[in-house]
Amino acid sequence: MSSLQDMKIATEGQNRPKTPIYLDYQATTPTDPRVVEAMLPYFTTYFGNPHSRNHAYGWDAEKAVEKARAQVASIIGADEKEIIFTSGATESNNLALKGVAHFHKGKKNHVITVVTEHKCVLDSCRHLELEGFEVTYLPVQKNGLIDLEQLKATIRPDTCIVSVMAVNNEIGVIQPLAEIGKICRAAKVYFHTDAAQAVGKIPLNVEEMNIDLMSISGHKIYGPKGLGALYVRRKPRVRLEALIHGGGQERGMRSGTLPTPLCVGLGEACAIAQREMGAEAERLKTLRDRMYNKIREQLPEVYLNGDLDSRIPGNLNLSFAYVEGEGLMMGVKDIAVSSGSACTSASLEPSYVLRALGVEEELAHTSLRIGLGRFTSEQDVDYAVEHIVQAVQRLRSMSPLWEMAQEGIDIKSIQWAEH
């Protein structure tokens, strides 16, 4: 079955959900119906170009965009003038890193980031290296968090920017942002954070945390795909070079006509998240703990990847020893999750994030990322647990590694032929 549509047709009338239960909220989220409703008039009635200064169509659109900008600013404790709309967190991360590095090129040529960052940060850094910048990739500890002393020791007089993600997309761990901000401010180095997975899930405040640049994504917070934002501090002012040139919109940092409906959507998504964050975090944490505990009660040798305490409530990343992740996902096809297994990646390499934590390759292959979110119910969790447990038990019963482990054979003692 190749698509959701096929799945709906094929399973109709059977005693199982018509579509798989969605537990992949770190990949993307559905747009909240309240967000869609707020967006709709801006496709038709208020379709004006927000940059048209000489008629009501433009004014209405501009008003909506500015309201959205204020809503985005509010959720991170920023001023609305400090929000730049972009096409998404990938563009925001590119703009923050390349924009700042390019502006300061010659005087400051050193960038610091972390090995577990999202590919768009790592790839932007690789690109800067090709241009002659020097990049330090900080390692992480076993729990996925960086060592602050190591960060301090890595900052040099020519360090321009430190980029550390707020929340990791695979393991959901929260980096110590306030502490990192303090270190960067004291060293007079810009602090950028990719907060795509953090906004709306944990409290963020750019003032209290001394954050100079922050990347925000629309579709990770029940807003539309295709829109994101970059917070760029005004006091003290962060200087950066634009990547996209044109009509000089967004204070010259990002040209192009703003997509009014998408801006309205991101604004509304932020407003809803800000209102509901406290209660929602509690609810998700209860569900997450329920899931984790139920799985552990029924299955031995399940390992949590990443810190449990410094973690967003909606994420579980578990290794089910002796069961390969892709094979496991096939066994739980009524549940939509993702895996750190090599077999699910184009490169046939297991997750670089899990490897960075020091998770052994054989365990990295057995991981599932389970993401809970706004539309996840207790019923969904129980259904998922039941199916995951069944599938793991079935696959372990046919795993030669499980068999060896039961016989007391140390898998590491065997001379494997790597292929």
């Binding site: 390969e324 892709e326 094979g327 292959h365 046919m398 795993s399 790597e418 292929h419």
Partner: protein, 135 residues
């Protein structure tokens, strides 16, 4: 990954899952792959007095294609002589299951598992031809 119906069917109803007694002289065991690479196959054959494979069992740690490839391999070796079983090629397995290109290595592993099991059996019988070795 979009898989063929045949592959999904083998994954959901794998044939011949289990284990044979490794120490039995009529049993050959092949263990191939590596946990660090994400797939390990154990394939066992039991050779009858007539020199034909009368039973085969497997256990596999791996993705859906690896499980289906080994399931198919056990199905195909049954009833064959060792020389015949050695003729099973990975391309036949890949074709039968319509493996996607990135999964071809799973069929290679299944072929290797068959060969390893046959080799183990022959070693147990001092490299003698299967027919004479069977007791």
């Amino acid at each position: 990954m979009s898989y063929s119906e045949k592959l999904i069917e083998h994954y959901e109803n794998p044939r011949n899952v289990g284990a044979l007694d490794k120490s039995d002289t009529s049993v050959g065991t092949g263990l191939v792959g590596a946990p660090a690479c994400g797939d390990v196959m154990k394939l066992q054959i039991k050779v009858g007095a007539d020199g034909r494979i009368e039973d085969a069992k497997f256990k596999t740690f791996g993705c859906g294609s690896a499980i289906a490839s080994s399931s198919l391999a056990t199905e195909w070796v049954k009833g064959k002589t060792l020389d015949e079983a050695e003729q099973i090629k990975n391309t036949m397995i890949a074709q039968h299951l319509s493996l996607p290109p990135v999964k071809i290595h799973c069929s290679v592993l299944a072929e290797d598992a068959i060969k390893a099991a046959i080799r183990d059996y022959r070693e147990k019988h001092g490299e003698k031809p299967a027919e004479q070795a069977a007791e």
